[in-house]
Structures are given as structure tokens and as C-alpha cells.
């Protein structure tokens, strides 16, 4: 991929980083407040993002839209399953509730200057590695 191709992705990421910081979705406090149902803020963000996404995806599918290169857009379905989603999801949720950041915000908070997040990132990389090691022994 050429440098100029990458720039457009960099810009999308830049907007994403700004929006997540300014909406405070990267805030440990906001996640705590969300899990205690003490504010609508986070539910509003996720809800509107999903509604926007559903409408957009439906428009893309119904109009058989093409992507930037003129190729038909195909959105892959997620693999069927139950255990991996409920167990993996719960483990991630425990981490999300503890350190208040999901993978996107881990990177965004690096830029925002939160030193402690470096340790979270190291843990997350090791956790990813451990999953790769034990993948075939886990129920999916």
C-alpha cells in the first residue's frame, strides 16, 4: 500500500481519536458511570453510532454501492458460535470495567498522555499472545 493510500486511513483514525476523546468515551470515569447506569451519555453515543451504522449498511446493501476503488462492497458475516462470544466477551468486559478502556482508547490515551496506559497496552499484547497460544484448547 502506497503512502498516499495510507494517509486517508490516518485521517480517519485522527477523526476517530478526536471524537472518542471529546465525547469522553475514552474516560475511565465515563465507563464506570455507564456500568452504574448513572448517565445516559455513553448509551447515547453507542446507540446513535449503531443506528447510524445500521442505516448506512442498509443503504449500501440495498443500492449495491461500490467502494472507493469501484469494487462491490461486501461485508463479511461474523462466524457463527456462542461460547467464544459470551466467554470472550465477558472476559473483555471485566477488563473494560477495570481499566476503563477498550482497545481503541488504549491507543488514543497513549496520545492523550496517560502514562499508565502503557502498562495496559503491554498486558493487552500479552493477552492477545496467550489467546493465540491456547486457541486450539479453548471452546469456541
Amino acid at each position: 500500500m502506497r503512502f498516499l493510500d495510507l494517509i486517508k486511513f490516518l485521517l480517519v483514525g485522527f477523526v476517530f481519536g478526536i471524537v472518542l476523546t471529546k465525547s469522553e468515551a475514552v474516560s475511565w470515569y465515563r465507563i464506570y458511570e455507564m456500568f452504574h447506569f448513572q448517565s445516559f451519555h455513553m448509551y447515547g453515543i453507542i446507540g446513535v453510532a449503531v443506528v447510524t451504522g445500521v442505516i448506512g449498511v442498509q443503504l449500501i446493501k440495498r443500492n449495491q454501492m461500490k467502494d472507493i476503488k469501484g469494487l462491490p462492497i461486501e461485508i463479511a458475516d461474523k462466524e457463527k458460535g456462542f461460547l467464544r462470544y459470551i466467554i470472550g466477551g465477558t472476559l473483555f468486559g471485566l477488563g473494560w470495567g477495570l481499566v476503563g478502556s477498550c482497545p481503541g482508547p488504549i491507543f488514543i490515551l497513549l496520545g492523550a498522555g496517560f502514562y499508565g496506559i502503557v502498562i495496559v497496552l503491554i498486558g493487552a499484547l500479552l493477552g492477545t499472545y496467550l489467546y493465540g497460544v491456547f486457541k486450539n484448547k479453548l471452546p469456541h
Partner: protein, 185 residues
């Protein structure tokens, strides 16, 4: 009521996050942040011993560019787009946090007692941050996605597996916030 330099309203923020996801679809890709953790493992050489990491990480360059942009976006938002008026919590939340010896935000995104240089010097904080990260890395890969891949991308495409994963996110988060955090702090 809202200011550009203060907290952005949920309806604008949610719409923009949806737009980011749709833009990536238009660029021929799928929005998902946790796969970058796998790519970073592969770049560090994890593919030598573990099959899961045997793939050409160059295919994921675009996503690493998104991550780099996100880091720069976080920097820009904090340094140029904030007046320090943000993070107005429910007063009840602030009270609960005080009982756990966690200070009120006063405009900060994260508590100093968890993320500051001083806090990182204590073994307990390091353990909390490390185990939190471990759960995030392991859990997201096991579930095949995180908030962006499942909650935003997956639900937008009406995927049942993503709904199951999001239910899991909340089971874990609720257990942590209600039962475990008071024991930990």
C-alpha cells in the same frame, strides 16, 4: 449548553463514530481496533512459534495507519481542543468514587490514582493495569472483536454473534463495576 472545547454531545459523537465505521467500509475495510493487537504481536515475531500469528502483517498496514491517526487525534484533542471543563459526572457517581478513594475528575479523563506517573510507581496499580490489559487482549481476541468490531460494526450489520459478544461485554463490565471494583480499591 455544549461548547466545542467541552464535552461533545452524545448525538454528535455517536453519529461521527458511525460515520467513521461507514467511511472504512467505503474504503473497502472493516472497522475493528483490537485486530491491531494481533498485528503488533506478529510484527514482534510471534508468528515464529504460534500459527495464529502467521500472516503477512503488511496487509494490516491500513489499520496501523488508523491507530497512528487515533493516537495523534488523542493528542490533538487534549492539547488543542479542550478547555478543561469536561467530564461532568452524576454527583452520585462522584460520591461512590470518593468512598473508594478515587478523586473526582475535575476535567481529567482518567483518575490520577490509576494513570499518573506517581500511581504507576505502586505495585498495586501496576498489577491492576496489567491484569486489566491482559483481560482486554485475551477477551477481545477470544470473542473476535471489541467495542468497535462487535458493538459498532457487528451490530450495524445486524450480526447475532456480535449481540452475544456485547451481552458478554456488559456481563463482565457489570460484575467488575458493582462487585469487584469495591473489593479492589
Amino acid at each position: 449548553m455544549y461548547s466545542f472545547y467541552g464535552t461533545w454531545p452524545w448525538y454528535i459523537s455517536g453519529f461521527l463514530i458511525g460515520a467513521v465505521m461507514l467511511t472504512l467500509i467505503f474504503f473497502g475495510k472493516q472497522f475493528g481496533m483490537s485486530s491491531n493487537l494481533r498485528t503488533l504481536c506478529t510484527m514482534a515475531g510471534a508468528g515464529k512459534n504460534v500459527d495464529f500469528f502467521k500472516f503477512d502483517w503488511r496487509e494490516q498496514k491500513w489499520n496501523l495507519a488508523v491507530v497512528l491517526g487515533a493516537i495523534l487525534g488523542g493528542f490533538a484533542a487534549v492539547h488543542f481542543l479542550s478547555d478543561g471543563s469536561g467530564v461532568h459526572l452524576n454527583p452520585k457517581t462522584v460520591e461512590q468514587l470518593a468512598a473508594m478513594h478515587i478523586e473526582a475528575p475535575n476535567g481529567k479523563l482518567g483518575p490520577d490514582s490509576l494513570f499518573s506517573w506517581e500511581a504507576v510507581k505502586t505495585p498495586k496499580t501496576v498489577l491492576i493495569l496489567f491484569f486489566g490489559g491482559l483481560l482486554i487482549g485475551f477477551g477481545t481476541r477470544y470473542a473476535g472483536g471489541c467495542t468497535s468490531g462487535h458493538a459498532i460494526s457487528g451490530l450495524s450489520n445486524l450480526q447475532k454473534p456480535s449481540l452475544i459478544a456485547v451481552v458478554g461485554f456488559f456481563i463482565g463490565g457489570l460484575i467488575m463495576a458493582h462487585f469487584l471494583l469495591p473489593l479492589i480499591f
